[in-house]
Amino acid sequence: MASMELASFPILSTILLSTIVALLVIMLIPEDRPKLVKQVSLGFAALGVVLSLLVYVSYDVDKGGLQFVERFLWVQSIGIYWFTAVDGINAPMLILTAVVLFTGVLTMWELETRVKEFFALMYLLVAGVYGVFMSMDLFWIFVWYDVSLFPMYPLIAIWGGTRKEYGAMKLTLYLLAGSALILPGILYVWAVGGGHTFDLFELQRMGLPAHVQRIAFIMLYLGFGILAGVWPFHTWSPVGHVAAPTAVSMIHAGVLMKLGAYGILRVGMTLCPEGLGYWADLMALLATIGIVYGAFVGLAQTDLKYVIGYSSVSHMGIVGLGLATMTVDGINGAVFQMFSHGVMTALFFSAVGYIYDRTHTKMIPELGGLSNTMPVASAFFIIAAFCGVGVPCMSSFWAELLVFISAVKTYPVRGVLAVISLVVSALFMLRVVQKTFYGPRNERWEHIPDVPLALATPRIILVGILVFFGLFPRLILDVIQSAVVPFVSSL
């Protein structure tokens, strides 16, 4: 019904533009009206949620393929197109972004220092994220990719916590070092493809020579892989997350890390199927190591955010493993995992953020018994932990199920190892939960109030999404596979 009108309306560009407009509007608001800044931010975030939901809902699963396509020439001489579209892979990602932004804004409702700048930068970051997810042109993918990375520096360095300057610098440099591999990769592909188009799908149709694909793929894989937390390029993740303020951690771990995996899928695997075939073994190996390693290292952490950081490494390993299988289920699962891990980590960080804001510590030994004083805040963390453990009827369970099945099929030994590591991850999640939230009442936190409803709302939304898609996985899985099935058959 509405999709006919929507088809002609440039809704994707509208989403993107709305974030940029938000950025400008926020910058024009006077410094001394932080409340207004927050309201405006929330308004635009809600708009983003509505629009991306609209896209998601009106995406025609039966038809599949690219929809809401906007494509016109941007730069003639080297063939840059403004090319945005939605398919089954990025439709969930758009929702994820919108939701995490929305909840992130709500989470930061109590921010008091340099409010305007914070939200402006956040919108800049999100503009980049939206841009990457919806662009189908290599140039724009790269542009938005970098746009989403560099605001991290001020965001962490100004509003961050533990060792913020070190963390911010490390994270930014590390990630941009990754883009130092992506850009040559993209340009290489472009140059080999004749140098007159950056259109992803045109390049895909050209079918690059095998040796080119190998070189290009490894560059793209490593480049995007750094952001995706691929072992052994993951160390920015814990450090950065520890340093970042809550909403930034949420967006970063929740959305930005997905950007890396999405990039591998969208750019690397689409353009270089043969390269993928050549390097898939390595991918699977690194991913498996990441899964196991993340879980084990997480076991020894004493800082809540470190724990989450390492769990992210482990979970993103699952994404990588799924991608490396090159099967429908594997990639389905990987995309699904991106989505659910995004929501889950956002929940994690927002729960930790609340706790940290009140107690001013995130050291596990100092906390303890928090469930007594703030049961709701604890509950959010615990739910996220269950999701991380892979408890069924939480959305990440399905993702893991799909990935593991195809991983065992494709790489039996590594797949089995990854499955076995689930025990360790359960151990480490529950250990954290136990040490942080269980135990006798702690007088130090006696006076701290529990989460008020306003601040609980974003977390409830996230929990709701986790459970909802856990109970009704088809709502997202069908969308994802409408893109993955043709994709895999083209590999």
């Binding site: 080297i78 542009v143 883009s179 130092a180 040559p184 340009l187 140098g195």
Partner: protein
């Protein structure tokens, strides 16, 4: 007489120089008045060059070529000059009694560089190059109370004079093997004699002169001292206007060279890699922001060279685009420096502390400028790098591009340090808010808009640069 129309932008600057010359004869020229004149005249100069953009033809018995390439660079130089003039409102670094001469020399230098980009005859090139160098030699030591920086002038002079002597020596060999001073004929003759050691020697030494201007490794040694030691405005001028002329010269010379011989390209690659790496590495440890920018300019010369050494039209176009980008970004940084250090002292990085409070607009301009220099989208700097690397990859120089990108990441580190100072650090002592007048405000807004718009909508500019590159090869 119609031919003189071709020369009109240069003539305009001659007139402008004359105006300042006569002003310098005045007993006591009022600085404000001089500033106004300078702004107006250089503004009109921009107009004049823009109007002359589509001119084409040759003058002085083919010694002087006017084509889109030269005109584009003239516009860039004129814009650079205009912007520098705009920020001369508080020219505290120069003795008030010397302002007229300051503007005079500036104008002459601009004029010389404009002629330089059009000159296609070795002697003319040499002399116009010397003219621009000499005006800069004289501008640099003009700094008032320059105790610490007094040596800058002599260092610049000595290095410059040595380099120009070497260049002359090289030119003499070129003359010897090709028997002509016309660049076009030199080029025609070169492939024939390229197996002669003298030709190579001549070419390298001659190139050294141009690369010297561009501060490419290993001809960079003047840059840090000069940036640091000269008045902020002069440093800005050297970094922007002068850089444009140098870039034009290098492009033209290599473009003419068009030898595309493996060795030559390899050499340029090595130089560009060394330049990038050296500049970025040393920039990391700098404390003085101008010195830091000097090292970054060394690195940027390396990036630009990547575009040039592809020896393709696209490569030249990308280098021109890069030059444009560099002009905008670098000037943005310098403008902020000049405005923050309004008494003309040298700005240390830590003095930028709290800039975001003292002047949010300038802080943002600085941030965008620095991100642009680091090659972060959506700024123009990124698009420049993108095009340059694209051109290089079209020739298959993958490793070079990777090194370039790694260097870009490296450079981000010190740019971030500056940004950190501006946005993060608490000032150790209370600094006054930066006075931002209307001119500065509109200029910085214009720069911000330019940095983003030229970066995001590069199509127009790319068409222009491609046409210019095509004109170069015609």
């Amino acid at each position: 007489m119609m031919k003189w129309v071709l020369f009109s932008p240069e003539l305009y600057y001659v007139v402008m120089a004359a105006v300042f010359f006569f002003m310098s004869l005045e007993r006591q020229a009022e600085p404000r008045k001089l500033y106004k004149w300078a702004v107006i005249l250089s503004g009109v100069g921009v107009l004049a060059t823009v109007l002359g953009a589509r001119l084409q033809g040759t003058l002085f018995f083919d010694a002087y070529r006017i084509d889109l390439f030269s005109q584009v660079f003239k516009i860039l130089i004129a814009i650079g000059t205009f912007w520098v003039m705009l920020v001369c409102s508080e020219l505290k670094g120069v003795d008030e009694r010397r302002h007229a001469e300051f503007y005079f020399l500036m104008t002459i230098c601009t004029l010389a560089m404009m002629m330089l980009v059009s000159a296609v005859e070795l002697l003319t090139i040499y002399i116009t190059l010397e003219l621009s160098s000499y005006s800069l030699f004289l501008l640099v030591p003009m700094r008032k109370h320059d105790g610490e920086y007094a040596e800058t002038g002599i260092k610049y002079f000595m290095i410059g004079a040595t380099a120009s002597a070497m260049m002359l020596f090289g030119l003499s060999y070129l003359y010897g093997v090709t028997h002509t001073t016309y660049v076009a004929e030199v080029v025609k003759a070169l492939p024939r004699v390229f197996n002669q050691p003298a030709a190579v020697l001549g070419l390298v030494l001659a190139l050294a002169g141009f690369l010297f201007k561009q501060a490419l490794f290993p001809f960079h040694i003047w840059a840090p001292d000069v940036y640091q030691g000269s008045t902020n405005q002069v440093a800005a001028y050297i970094a922007t206007g002068s850089k444009m002329a140098a870039a034009a010269m290098v492009i033209r010379f290599i473009g003419f060279g068009n030898a595309d011989s493996g060795y030559f390209v390899q050499l340029l690659m090595v130089l560009s890699v060394l330049s990038m790496t050296f500049g970025n590495l040393v920039a990391i440890i700098q404390k003085d922001i101008k010195r830091l920018l000097a090292y970054s300019s060394i690195a940027h010369a390396g990036y630009m060279l990547i575009g040039i050494l592809t020896m393709t039209e696209q490569g030249y176009a990308s280098a021109i685009y890069y030059a444009l980008a560099y002009l905008i970004m670098n000037f943005a940084c310098f403008m902020v420096i000049i405005k923050v250090a309004d008494d003309g002292h040298n700005l240390q990085i830590k003095e930028l502390a709290g800039l975001h409070k003292r002047s949010p607009l300038l802080a943002m301009t600085l941030m965008l400028g620095l991100f642009g220099l680091a090659g972060i989208p959506p700024t123009v700097g990124f698009t420049g790098k993108f095009l340059v690397f694209a051109a290089a990859l079209k020739k298959g120089y993958l490793i070079l591009v990777i090194i370039g990108m790694v260097n870009a990441t490296l450079s981000l580190y010190y740019y971030l340090i500056v940004i950190k100072a501006a946005y993060l650090l608490k000032p150790v002592r209370e600094y006054l808010p930066v006075r931002v007048d209307g001119v500065t405000r509109s200029l910085s807004i214009a720069l911000v808009v330019l940095m983003i718009c030229v970066g995001i909508f590069p199509d127009r500019f790319m068409q222009l640069t491609e046409a210019a590159a095509a004109a170069l090869l015609m």
